[in-house]
Symmetry: C2
């Protein structure tokens, strides 16, 4: 991995890119995953590369949903595995929820490599390599799901998920928590709880939120008052405000 | 290359991705180029994947600037070569201006491969593989420029250009035409004329604009009345309007 100097003003952003490029070389990330990451970068820039209040509210609701779930599962794709392996593993242990490798451009080899990558980082329970069940309404290999994992889960945490698959999981009656920087993507629109934030910031907040909330009695109340569509509108409004500022700011 | 069916609603977008992935396999595109393309996709979505009136005005000004230039040069990087080789070649012939391979992640091998790729598509005059001059104010290999090309040009068409290099060319006293989907990028902010549009749409419009304008006496007038900063503000306003529409539109 190319070492980005910590003093570089774009250190965090450049380090993420290097992790994905390394993931591509290791056969974990897909090339289309790099393009998807670029889309996320653009939206992260537009929200100011910080966690918005709306994302904090969504993260609280997500913590409550995961803690009240009967069978939560954490979906992991190539970008998630390359960017935040330690964080999904920590979350998996905290919730006693399995990780399931779930990739859009499916090959058995890539699933195996992602599973091994997670296990090298300490993951004990990784599903997805024997995914014999099918998510209804989706064609081809990307419908694959583990019968003991996503297929029978009641709550799925699906960071960086594809819109089709998010919709199909919702149609199966599951609750889906999305982490997606695009507030107008189909995934964000259809998920039960949409966290519009960078995946690293979102998972850090989710982990600390779950630790704080474990013994709280606020969980049901938080879920009841949470309004996902209203929250997405708040994100869009933040972007609009930021663009208006950028419009008035002449750098030249 | 994976064949995307023409009936697919995202046909154009998916075909571009496939061209870049093929370019990566051929050693023409860089992996960071895929991430940069993703950023462009996000902005293209926000402008509605169409040519804005502000982009039409910028394209007219760009045509006038290229036609009144003494020594115009067209800069070509990996993404440009992979996405629109025919169009930069057509433009080069129309203006009698050389193409110069000019890449951010510089290796001699990649420059040679891009040059060969352009020549296979019919390019007669491609510079960049013997770039012995240096653009002042930029470190490392990405400062390289051909003494008979970009280094001594008065007008540089630099699609998908890096912000540092755009600024450095402006400091050398050159006029720079940028094609960049991000209206708030440093490239867009610093260029003489910033076309905020998809590269394929922009080059098509530029080619037809140049053909129409060749014998026109409006060129100086067009350049005089063109206001790049005002034009960029108009793009941002368009994005703001579109986001407000998206905010009110509940898909679920």
């Amino acid at each position: 991995m190319f070492n980005v100097p910590e003093a570089h003003p774009r250190y965090k952003s450049l380090t993420k890119r290097e992790k994905l490029v390394t993931g591509l070389e290791a056969g974990i990330t897909s090339r289309q995953g790099l393009i998807a990451h670029g889309r996320g970068e653009a939206f992260d820039y537009l929200i100011g590369e910080r966690t918005l209040n709306s994302a904090k509210r969504a993260t609280e609701a997500a913590a409550a949903l995961l803690l009240t779930a009967k069978k939560p599962v954490i979906s992991v794709n190539g970008n998630v595995a390359a960017l935040v392996p330690e964080k999904v593993i920590e979350l998996s242990e905290l919730l006693n929820a399995p990780l399931e490798v779930n990739i859009f451009y499916w090959t058995g080899e890539r699933v195996r490599k992602i599973k091994e990558h997670l296990e090298q980082h300490g993951a004990a329970h990784v599903l997805g390599d024997k995914a014999e069940a099918r998510i209804p309404g989706i064609t081809h290999a990307r419908a694959k799901a583990d019968r003991e994992g996503i297929f029978s889960a009641d709550v799925v945490l699906a960071p960086l998920e594809d819109g089709d698959r998010c919709e199909a999981l919702i149609k199966m009656g599951k609750k889906v928590i999305a982490i997606d920087l695009n507030p107008v993507s189909r995934t964000s629109r259809h998920a039960t709880v949409s966290i519009v934030d960078d995946i690293e910031r979102a998972l850090e907040n989710l982990i600390s939120g779950i630790k704080e909330m474990k013994k709280s009695s606020r969980k049901e109340w938080l879920l009841e008052k949470f309004d996902n569509q209203g929250n997405l509108r708040a994100v869009i409004q933040e972007i609009v405000e930021r663009l208006k500022e950028l419009k008035e700011f002449d750098t030249v």
